[in-house]
Every structure is written in structure tokens, then in C-alpha cells.
């Protein structure tokens, strides 16, 4: 059992007063087989209620509707989460590799996983790189995905503030650097190109172990391996996901998982500062 305290804070400041604003935060940890959300608390510096709602992809969101003018706003969310140790991957050696690839080519399989088999604007390999990484069909799917994880990790260098949410995959592949989100997009694009369903996961990473990706929300991949199910890979750190990964949501790419979406009525520049703190409690 691992007890975590997660603090997500964001501060927005505006050049001119904001008259009305809506925000939607997709930051609440999920309840699933390996993690349990014990408590969540929300606070804002403005006098507005916080509503919870379910978004189009069935994830819980927190929403604020601010009707009074303001020039800056702070939002803070604190979560307590208990994680259990992820079960180790079983029977990898006993898998029949051929069956594995046959399953990927089954029509019903392709239909059921369609959303995670096709590229989006952020996860489509550019034409000139379409063959950048091809799976070896003499090996099992899980073996291939592990190798891909290592390949993405070595192909890109972790570097902050050189890419943005809309940086194209072509630029990321060429310049060979980026943050967790870029690692994840590249991984998804290649897995999908090789007919393996892959989804973008947004969540928190426990920072204590010197992993890349701290102080912001983290991103990793879940891959659907036939006969095994969805399995998490963290290409930014070249590991399988474990108890240090606390999941919030998944989708086709970053756009489905953006932690913060909002609409506001104002003019001029604005600044956003946000921070994530994950602490481990004995």
C-alpha cells in the first residue's frame, strides 16, 4: 500500500479584469483496480462554487463559474490516494506470438479499438517517418512494445520549454527533444501505426525517485496487448508504469486529457503558473 498526497495548484493573472469565466479541471485521480481516491478538496481565491461533473469521456471534472470581475485567481486541489503494487506481467514467455498478431488483425478487434488505432492531429506519423519504427512479428506484441518504449526513450531527449502543446510530431522527431507529452504522442503514433491500440494517459508521477516529469502533470501510454489487456508504459522514463503513477484520465491524445479548459471574457495578456506536488506518506 502506498499513500500519496497530491497538491495541484494553478494561478492565473490577467492584464485586464476578467468579467466572467468558466473553467473545467480534469485533475481528479481515478478510482480503479490499483488506486483508490480517499479524499479530494478544492479551493479557489474567488467566491465561486465548485461543481463536479462527468465529461464526454466519462471522467470526473471540477468546474468553476466565476461571475464577478477579477484580475487573478488561484485554484488548489488536494487529493489523498492509496495505490497498490501493480501486478507483475504474467506468462510473457508462454505467449504464442503468432496468435498475438492474428488478434490484432481481427476485424472485430479493429472495430472495438478503432479510436485508439488511428492517428489524431497530434499522433499521426508524418509521411516521411511512417516507417520510423516497425514491429518485429517474430517477437510477441508485448516484447515489441517494450522495445518501442526503450526506443522512444533513447530517441528523444527530455527537455522542457522547447515544445508546446501544439508542436507537430514531425518537429519532435527531427529535433529529438520534448517533454512527457511528446514522448507519449510519439509512442502512441508508432504503436497505432503498427496496429496496436494505444491511449494517451494523463496523471501524476510520484517525484521522489528522480524520474523525469515532475512538478507538472505527467503523461504516459496504455497499450492494449491481446490476451493481456491494457498495460501502462512510461516512455519518458523507460519503465512500465507502477505504483508511482497515479492516473487521472485517458484519451486519444493530449486534447482529450487537457487538465484545464476554460472560457473567459477579457482582453489582453495572461499568465498561468501551475505546480504539482506529490508526496509519499508512510
Amino acid at each position: 500500500m502506498f499513500n500519496y498526497n497530491i497538491k495541484y495548484t494553478v494561478e492565473n493573472t490577467y492584464e485586464n479584469p476578467v468579467f466572467e469565466a468558466f473553467w473545467q479541471y480534469l485533475v481528479i485521480p481515478l478510482n480503479n483496480e490499483t488506486q483508490q481516491l480517499i479524499s479530494s478538496e478544492f479551493k479557489t481565491s474567488v467566491d465561486s462554487r465548485i461543481e463536479k461533473s462527468i465529461n464526454g469521456y466519462n471522467f470526473e471534472t471540477a468546474r468553476i463559474h466565476c461571475k464577478k470581475p477579477f484580475e487573478s485567481i488561484q485554484f488548489e486541489a488536494v487529493f489523498k490516494v492509496v495505490k497498490t503494487e501493480a501486478a507483475p506481467l504474467k506468462n510473457i514467455e508462454n505467449l504464442n506470438d503468432e496468435d498475438d498478431f492474428k488478434a490484432l488483425n481481427d476485424l472485430d478487434f479493429k472495430i472495438d479499438f478503432y479510436s485508439y488505432l488511428n492517428g489524431t492531429s497530434l499522433t499521426t506519423l508524418p509521411e516521411q517517418y511512417s516507417g520510423i519504427y516497425l514491429f518485429d512479428t517474430t517477437k510477441s506484441v508485448i516484447e515489441n512494445v517494450k522495445l518501442l518504449n526503450a526506443w522512444v526513450y533513447t530517441h528523444l531527449y527530455y527537455k522542457t520549454e522547447v515544445t508546446a502543446v501544439d508542436t507537430s510530431l514531425a518537429e519532435i522527431i527531427e529535433k529529438r527533444h520534448g517533454v512527457c507529452q511528446d514522448f507519449t504522442h510519439l509512442f502512441c503514433a508508432i504503436a497505432r501505426k503498427n496496429k496496436v491500440p494505444a491511449r494517451y494517459v494523463s496523471g501524476y508521477l510520484h517525484q521522489g525517485n528522480g524520474f523525469f516529469g515532475d512538478s507538472q502533470m505527467h503523461a504516459w501510454v496504455e497499450v492494449f496487448v491481446p490476451h493481456m489487456g491494457w498495460i501502462g508504459f512510461d516512455p519518458t522514463n523507460n519503465i512500465l508504469t507502477d505504483h508511482n503513477h497515479i492516473k487521472v484520465s485517458h484519451g486519444k491524445d493530449y486534447n482529450d486529457c487537457a487538465p484545464l479548459k476554460g472560457v473567459l471574457y477579457s482582453t489582453g495578456e495572461n499568465q498561468t503558473k501551475y505546480e504539482v506536488e506529490v508526496t509519499y506518506q508512510q
Binding site: 468558466f22 464526454g56 468546474r63 463559474h65 478503432y114 486519444k252
Partner: protein, 488 residues
């Protein structure tokens, strides 16, 4: 043989053997249903029609019945061109049309449900998955979501033409935000004002009951637990080309016309801001495209939507008419599969014909299209209003090459159909002050609700005002006619 009924008003009327003329048969005799009106019209002089035409124009102008044309510079407000000669459809013929469009709308509804649930038609190998998934109108957010009474395409507009073989063919199914129904009602009004006398000679089905049926349909799909639903229409605003229609429908249904900023979502319920405070809204006829409905769920740059609307919809607290994601079946590439779709869900043979459609994402179709452009109409799958259409026999050699190039750049985006010869109908032409042949089509309006089906007995007959032109969309300079469905 000297044609018997060909008199002065129609003296300069062309005839073309290759086209189906709605009024005259092959021997130049007036068809039975038109006999009386032909006689009546011939009792007037051309000067009368010049006067009447001006009167009708003034009526449309004074009523503010206009539409906007978008082009490269700035939008232009135009009076909707209305024609004095009505189109007449006899009761028997109408029965077939009505059964046919209902069949299509029901099959499409079942299809949309299926592709957001079990995807049986795809698993059966009848419709390729790529076509659905790659459609810009497929909304993953709609997967497994069940709209009230299972209805997606509450309001459909089906475009039909009559080919030279005298049979009706469906050109398109419009199930996003089909517009034009207000013109149907105003065309009837305008004709009654101009030539009231002609209505004494025919028993015509009314069109004025559309709004009450629309409201009844909207109320039939109210959310669970609501007693008397509050219904509204949401419009993108006064700059939308169909704003006139939005306000017309709201006015005739006696419900509010709202914009995004008039609505507010709290705790997943939708409210309308009124001078008496907030009022809960239960059914929204939305004339806003999917992507703009909710900036928190779809396009974040939408300034015309309502933040949080989709979550309220998903929870079943409000009904959206038509359902988001319905446009996936509106995609012209899906049209190719309509005969299979009807057979698969209804176990019936299609009542109305489909125009053979080549889809450029299929290699054999693509090859055929590239080699036969001069004989085909090429259309983008996801545009509306007649934009982006190329008609093969009107293209120069250079233009043919240009069309080939755009198809090859993105084959998924294009379909092609044989050039259908739309039937022609006598139409009063302003510039030459006489009646001439012009191509026409017909848009029908169908409503589906809980235990409710309704097809407006009439429809919008659109006229291509330029001689020989086949594009009838009002945004491309088309006009329209009052359309009569006879009672017997």
C-alpha cells in the same frame, strides 16, 4: 403535329427531349395536374406577371425574408428569389416520396445508434470502419450514450431530384441542421397573396402545420421526469445565413430564440436567463454545429456555445435536437451505402433510388473518377450549401486537371456521381420577362420523435435560376417555388 396547349405566355418556352419537363409531356401536351393552372395563367398577360413578380418581391423584402451569401469579401444579404409558377405533385406520387423519405430517416437513425453502440453493420462488413472513424462528424463522446427515445435525427431534410427517366432519386440526406422550411411556408403565403384565385381550383395539403408538429416532436423527446418541457431554439446569431429561419420557427412555435450567452449550465442543468431569473430549459433545437456547442467539450474557441452543455446532455437533463454526432451519417460518403443501410436495419428494399456514387477512397472508384471527370459531378463529402462542387461537363481541360489534383491530394474527401439531369419546370425569369425551363430539385422535411413521424406535405422546390445550371442552392444564386401536394 401542332402542340395543342402551347399558348402565348409560353411562346418562348424551349423544349428539350433529354430532360424531364414537370409540366409538359414528350408530345408537348400539358400534364393532367397542371392543366387547370396552365389555363389560368394563360388568362393573364405577361404584364400581369411583371407586376405580380414585383409585388411578391416587395412582400419578401418587407417581411425581411432574406438570406446571406458568404463569399471572399463580405457577406451579402439577399432577398430570397421566389417564383410565381408552383410545382404540383399529385397525391399518388407524393405517397411514394413520403414513404421513401421516412424509410431513409428511420434507417439512418438506426444506423447512427449502431455506430455509437455495437457497430453491427461494420462487423457485418457492410460499411467500412474507416469511413466512420475518419469522419470529422464522428464524436467519440457520443459512444454508448442513449438519447431520449433513441432518436438522433429528429429533423431531416432529404434532397430529391427527378431524372430524365421520370423517377425520383435521392441526392443527399441532410441531418445536421437542414434549413429552408421557413421558405416553404412563406412561398405559400406569397403565392396566396399574389394569385389567390388559383387556390380555388385545387385541393392542396397545407404546409402551415409544420411548426406545431415541430413543437409536438420536441416535446415528445423531453427528458425523463419533466412534465411540461421548456423548449428553445439556439442560434449562432444574426450573422448566420439562416437566422431568419431560426427566428421564424421560434416565433411560430411560441418559444424563445436564444444565443449561447442567454443560457447557463449549473449542476448539469441548463437554464435560460430571463428578467424573472433563471428558467430551466429541457429541449433545445440547436442550429449550432456540433463543434461549437460547448467550448469545454468541443472547440474551445467557440464563443457561441454554452460551457457545460454537453455534460448536461450526457446526464439526460436536456435533449438536443438533432443529437450531437448525427452528422456522421450526413457525410456524403455514407450516402454510397444507403441501400445496404436500409436493408440491414429495416429488412426492406429502398423505396427511393440512390444515385450511383463513387467514393474516391476506394481504389477502383478513384481510377474510374479520374478517367471520367467530364461525365461526373465531384463533391466534397463534408461541405454544405453547394460549395466545392465541380460539374464535369462544364469544366475546361485545365479545370479538369485541377479537380484531379485536389482529389488525389485527399481522396477520402471526395465522392463523384454521374451527372443527373434534374427535371425542368417553367419558371418566370425576370430578365427576359417570360417563362423558361429551369432545373429544379425538392427538399422534403421529416420529423422523428417519440411515437411520432411527420413529413411536411410539400417541400422546398429549389430552382437553378441561371439557364442550364444544375446547382440549386440558394447560396449559389438559386430560387424557389411553392410546392403543392394535392389531396387526391
Amino acid at each position: 403535329m401542332e402542340p395543342t396547349n402551347f399558348k402565348h405566355l409560353f411562346s418562348s418556352y424551349d423544349s428539350n427531349e433529354n430532360l424531364f419537363d414537370e409540366i409538359f409531356d414528350k408530345d408537348q401536351n400539358v400534364r393532367q395536374v397542371y392543366k387547370k393552372i396552365f389555363e389560368l395563367y394563360n388568362g393573364h398577360s405577361i404584364d400581369d406577371f411583371v407586376n405580380l413578380n414585383n409585388k411578391a418581391k416587395t412582400f419578401f423584402f418587407n417581411q425581411g425574408i432574406t438570406f446571406q451569401v458568404y463569399n471572399d469579401t463580405k457577406p451579402k444579404e439577399k432577398i430570397f428569389p421566389f417564383d410565381l409558377f408552383p410545382r404540383i405533385i399529385d397525391a399518388e406520387e407524393w405517397k411514394t416520396i413520403e414513404r421513401g423519405v421516412l424509410q431513409r430517416c428511420k434507417a439512418l437513425n438506426a444506423f447512427i445508434h449502431d455506430i455509437y453502440h455495437d457497430k453491427n453493420i461494420i462487423k457485418a462488413g457492410l460499411v467500412p470502419m474507416e469511413l466512420i472513424g475518419s469522419s470529422a462528424n464522428y464524436l467519440t463522446q457520443m459512444v454508448d450514450l442513449d438519447p431520449v427515445a433513441g432518436i438522433y435525427n429528429h429533423i431531416s431534410g432529404t434532397d430529391l431530384i427527378k431524372h430524365s427517366d421520370g423517377k425520383y432519386y435521392v441526392l443527399e440526406d441532410n441531418i445536421r441542421c437542414p434549413s429552408g422550411v421557413s421558405y416553404v411556408i412563406y412561398n405559400r403565403n406569397a403565392l396566396k397573396r399574389s394569385l389567390f384565385g388559383v387556390f380555388n381550383h385545387y385541393e392542396i395539403q397545407p404546409v402551415v402545420d409544420y411548426s406545431e408538429n415541430l413543437l409536438e416532436m420536441m416535446e415528445s423527446v423531453k427528458p425523463k421526469g419533466v412534465d411540461v418541457p421548456t423548449c428553445v431554439i439556439i442560434t449562432p446569431g444574426v450573422f448566420n445565413s439562416a437566422y431568419y429561419e431560426h427566428s421564424f420557427l421560434a416565433k411560430t412555435m411560441g418559444i424563445e430564440l436564444v444565443e449561447g450567452r442567454d443560457l447557463l449550465v449549473e449542476n448539469d442543468f441548463v437554464y435560460m436567463k430571463t428578467i424573472n431569473g433563471l428558467k430551466k430549459v429541457d429541449v433545445i433545437y440547436r442550429r449550432i454545429d456540433d463543434g461549437f456547442l460547448d467550448p469545454l467539450e468541443f472547440r474551445k474557441d467557440s464563443a457561441i456555445g454554452v460551457p457545460g452543455l454537453f455534460a448536461a446532455y450526457k446526464k439526460g437533463n436536456v435533449t438536443l435536437v438533432n443529437a450531437p454526432g448525427t452528422g456522421v451519417a450526413d457525410d456524403k460518403a455514407i450516402y454510397t451505402y444507403m441501400p445496404e443501410i436500409i436493408k440491414f436495419y429495416l429488412g426492406e428494399k429502398p423505396i427511393l433510388n440512390n444515385v450511383h456514387t463513387y467514393h474516391c477512397s476506394r481504389p477502383t472508384d478513384l481510377k474510374y473518377v479520374l478517367e471520367n471527370i467530364p461525365n461526373l459531378v465531384v463533391k466534397p463529402v463534408d461541405e454544405a450549401g453547394g460549395y466545392g462542387i465541380s460539374i464535369g461537363n462544364k469544366l475546361t481541360k485545365a479545370e479538369v486537371e485541377a479537380v484531379k489534383k485536389v482529389i488525389l491530394e485527399n481522396p477520402r474527401k471526395y465522392i463523384a456521381q454521374p451527372i443527373m439531369s434534374l427535371s425542368v419546370h417553367a419558371t418566370y425569369i425576370d430578365e427576359c420577362q417570360s417563362f423558361e425551363q429551369r432545373h429544379v430539385d425538392l427538399r422534403t422535411f421529416t420529423l422523428l420523435g417519440r411515437d411520432k413521424e411527420f413529413v411536411l406535405k410539400g417541400g422546398l422546390t429549389r430552382v437553378a435560376l441561371q439557364k442550364g445550371n444544375l446547382i440549386v442552392n440558394s447560396s449559389q444564386g438559386g430560387g424557389s417555388k411553392d410546392t403543392w401536394v394535392l389531396k387526391k
